[in-house]
Symmetry: C2
DNA sequence: TAGTGGTCTAGACCACCGT
DNA sequence: CGGTGGTCTAGACCACTAA
């Protein structure tokens, strides 16, 4: 009769811990503040460190915490909204929020990408490496696969430096007007090279945005961009191709 | 001199394990096949079970494996592409791929949702619960927040059954033509109730799609949909509002 | 060098599923 | 019931950062 939910102790410890910590973050901590270290937190809650870590991992996954080896655990700022639509493809460099070409190689594309490109399996394509920086922080690393056919004017300058050739490829790509673009988003884990660019450890959760750029009835290029899942909120502006506003830039815990 | 990368053994065991397993999955296993259990796999690779589990978790995160308590670990099929755009909002029920209204309550919206709605903090809104099913599998659970002002014709029938009222709200919502929709995607972990609908454990990784439906110059409704991150690939059709095709329905390991 | 988070171990018990 | 994955423990050592 009087038993108010005495049976529901089936809840795992780490899950309960996560809830408690989450509420503490809302009320007792400011953004950027550093938490006590894991060993102390574990002792304070009377659990093993592995259990405490399971809770912290969840909170980091949700973008509430940020952990750095050798430093500590800090309260993360709200996720930054990054626009993923309306031809950011048109900006090459410089601006405060833009893609920065890093380098360019020529090789055959991996199978999943090949399936989206209109090229032969053994035909090498340009692979441009770009980094997206927002508010001083790297948020995404991209591989842009561009068939030679899409940038016919690029034959002679093969021996130019990698970063310069990257810019050339992107510039040439601009000359093709885009007819549209297919896009998909899925969860992934950062490869070693992506992790390095994103200042994360390998295996960190990322949002993989695959974009197929359509031009002249075919696939002009394919982009595979990996966004930091802990710090990013991808925004899409479907409002009738109007100017995209910056919707939820400010959002706080409540 | 002749040392070819002898120093790079800094790679964590679980990371190397993941790579080895991933390649084994590509070559030696078919979709749906069950793997040896964790204790045996750990023994076979000469690592602790916790380490083996770390590798399996990564592979599950990437949608390569599916694990079910009491059953075992199976090879997952390729992720299913689910369209997240172009008014699926217009289908109420029945079709093979659609939202199924489950129930409806009336309460005040949580703070983040409130910030997107044009209502007072204490004003209750309709909260419609819907499930999205694709190919017989539940892929998403949604909470649709609808201010009373958006569905003015709905006053009298308060006492109808929950599922019926859910359908009514959605039907009424259709009468407003949509002017557009803002959408964002971020990583989250499944709440207990969502996890139940999605046939997953609480905390499972999900893609949270937040949509703001615009009508008559204001926000007509806000949808918060949580998609299973392990089985779903969200697709967006930006190709000039054309008919959306079903792009990567077939993709295999290579 | 001291302190942090990241990795790893070798166990134990529990919740769940099918038989 | 036996077997599976899920949770939890109490340690140990390592890689990294900053003072």
């Amino acid at each position: 009769m009087g038993t108010t939910q005495l049976e529901s102790v089936q809840e795992p410890k780490y899950w309960h811990l996560k809830t408690v910590l989450s509420e503490a973050l809302d009320s007792d901590f400011a953004v950027g503040e550093i938490l006590p270290n894991e060993r102390e937190l574990a002792a304070r809650f009377g659990v093993a460190r592995a259990t405490l870590r399971q809770a912290l991992e969840q909170l980091e996954l949700e973008g509430r915490l940020q952990r750095r080896r050798g430093v500590g655990t800090t309260v993360a700022p709200p996720r930054v909204g990054v626009a993923v639509s309306t031809a950011q493809h048109d900006w090459t460099g410089g601006a405060d929020e833009a893609w920065q070409p890093i380098g360019c190689t020529t090789a055959t594309a991996p199978a999943p990408v090949l399936a989206m490109l209109d090229v032969e399996s053994d035909e090498p394509v340009h692979i441009v490496r770009r980094i997206r920086v927002t508010q001083g922080q790297p948020v995404a690393a991209e591989l842009l696969y561009v068939p030679s056919a899409s940038v016919p004017e690029l034959s002679a300058i093969e021996s130019s430096p990698s970063a310069a050739r990257a810019r050339s490829v992107v510039r040439e790509l601009h000359r093709l007007g885009l007819d549209g673009q297919d896009r998909s988003v899925e969860l992934g884990s950062a490869r070693a090279d992506d992790a390095k660019e994103l200042d994360r450890l390998p295996g960190a959760p990322v949002l993989v945005v695959t974009t197929r750029y359509l031009a002249a009835g075919g696939t002009a290029a394919v982009s595979v961009a990996t966004y930091r899942a802990d710090t990013c909120r991808l925004t899409f502006g479907d409002s009738g191709d109007l100017e995209i506003s910056h919707p939820g830039q400010e959002r706080h815990a409540s």
